[in-house]
């Protein structure tokens, strides 16, 4: 935008030859990342569309299946991810003001919180495996086949069917659950790799007030992954709760 800062930073070692100055280079990087995020939004959008369609077709099956998910773990994970987004934003802030120690600390915290999220997710996947809720025949000798609870049965490991729901329709929910949370988890794993890369660069003191595009751009990616979870949590975990307690 402004060209006032052109001369003083012209000689920065991180400046690529095809950019006039650091300001232009940073703007181009941010814009490019946003274009990539738009493709990511469309990618996840397809799955959200499939979800909308089948939830409107089989509302009771989706509610029954959703009620089997662990709301406490889901909510804790939402908190963990929001906190990690905050520490990521703070990492960008400390880079911009040139404080490298807090910057490194914030990146480490973000990485730890990201791994915590993945750990909790693994615990959840394990309990779905135990209750035979992994759809299809993905796992040898363990096809989709939850035990259906009868009336009055309060065992939370059994599947409680509401209304006219069938087990087949519940399986469809779990296809979507594993596809969406799995894709989200894959993005988290890639994000953890990117954070490790940033951490290495930060320890080498590569980023500061003049040059912080990598921190900024990976921050954008991290916040995007957070936003996906902000939608996944209510859509997957909370949709049928009011049928139980209403």
């Amino acid at each position: 935008m402004s060209h006032a800062a052109t001369e003083e930073v012209h000689g920065h070692p991180a400046l690529q030859h095809h950019f006039a100055n650091m300001e232009q280079q940073r703007e181009a990087g941010t814009l490019g990342m946003w274009v990539f995020l738009v493709t990511e939004i469309m990618f996840f959008g397809g799955m959200f569309l499939a979800y909308t369609l089948y939830r409107s077709n089989y509302p009771f099956a989706f509610a029954s299946a959703s009620n089997h998910l662990d709301i406490t773990l889901g909510a804790v994970n939402t908190g963990v991810l929001i906190l990690s987004s905050f520490t990521m934003a703070m990492a960008v802030y400390f880079t911009q003001v040139g404080k490298s120690r807090p910057q490194i600390l914030c990146l480490i915290l973000t990485l730890i919180l990201g791994l915590t999220f993945l750990g909790i997710k693994a615990v959840e996947y394990k309990s779905k495996y135990d209750d035979a809720l992994v759809p299809g025949r993905l796992i040898p000798n363990r096809p989709f086949g939850p035990t259906v609870a009868r009336e009055g049965d309060t065992d939370h490991h059994k599947l409680h069917l509401l209304g006219n729901a069938t087990v087949k329709q519940v399986e469809l929910f779990y296809w979507l659950y594993f596809a969406m949370t799995g894709m989200h988890a894959l993005h988290m794993i890639i994000g953890a790799g990117l954070l490790t890369f940033l951490l290495y660069g930060s320890i080498k003191r590569r980023y500061g007030p003049e040059y912080h595009s990598p921190v900024e751009v990976i921050g954008l990616y991290w916040h995007f992954v957070d936003i996906i979870w902000i939608f996944l949590f209510p859509l997957l975990y909370l949709l049928g709760r009011h049928f139980e307690h209403g």
Partner: protein, 106 residues
Amino acid sequence: MSEHIVPVRVYLTIFVVLLVGTGLTVLAAFHDFTYHAFGKEIALNAVIALTIAVTKATFVVLYFMHVRYSSKLVWMIVTSALFWMAIMFSLTLADYWTRGWLPVGY
């Protein structure tokens, strides 16, 4: 540098807003917001949950992702994502949700 550095106070506020939003969405999920009006059952649970989610996402995009302080070009790219999503949802659902309306083709 002409870029805007977002103050820590703003980040903290957004963080608290996001946590409160998460609390609200969990609380709202346990309450049945189904009403009877115009001779129909109108279920508002999904509407409420999505309103909270969209609000949270907007705060993340505007402040954590700095879009509020970004160039018009970035604004345009972000809006284009919403625009194409709207096309994808409206055209697809306009097909699926209206298939039962006319008894033809069977």
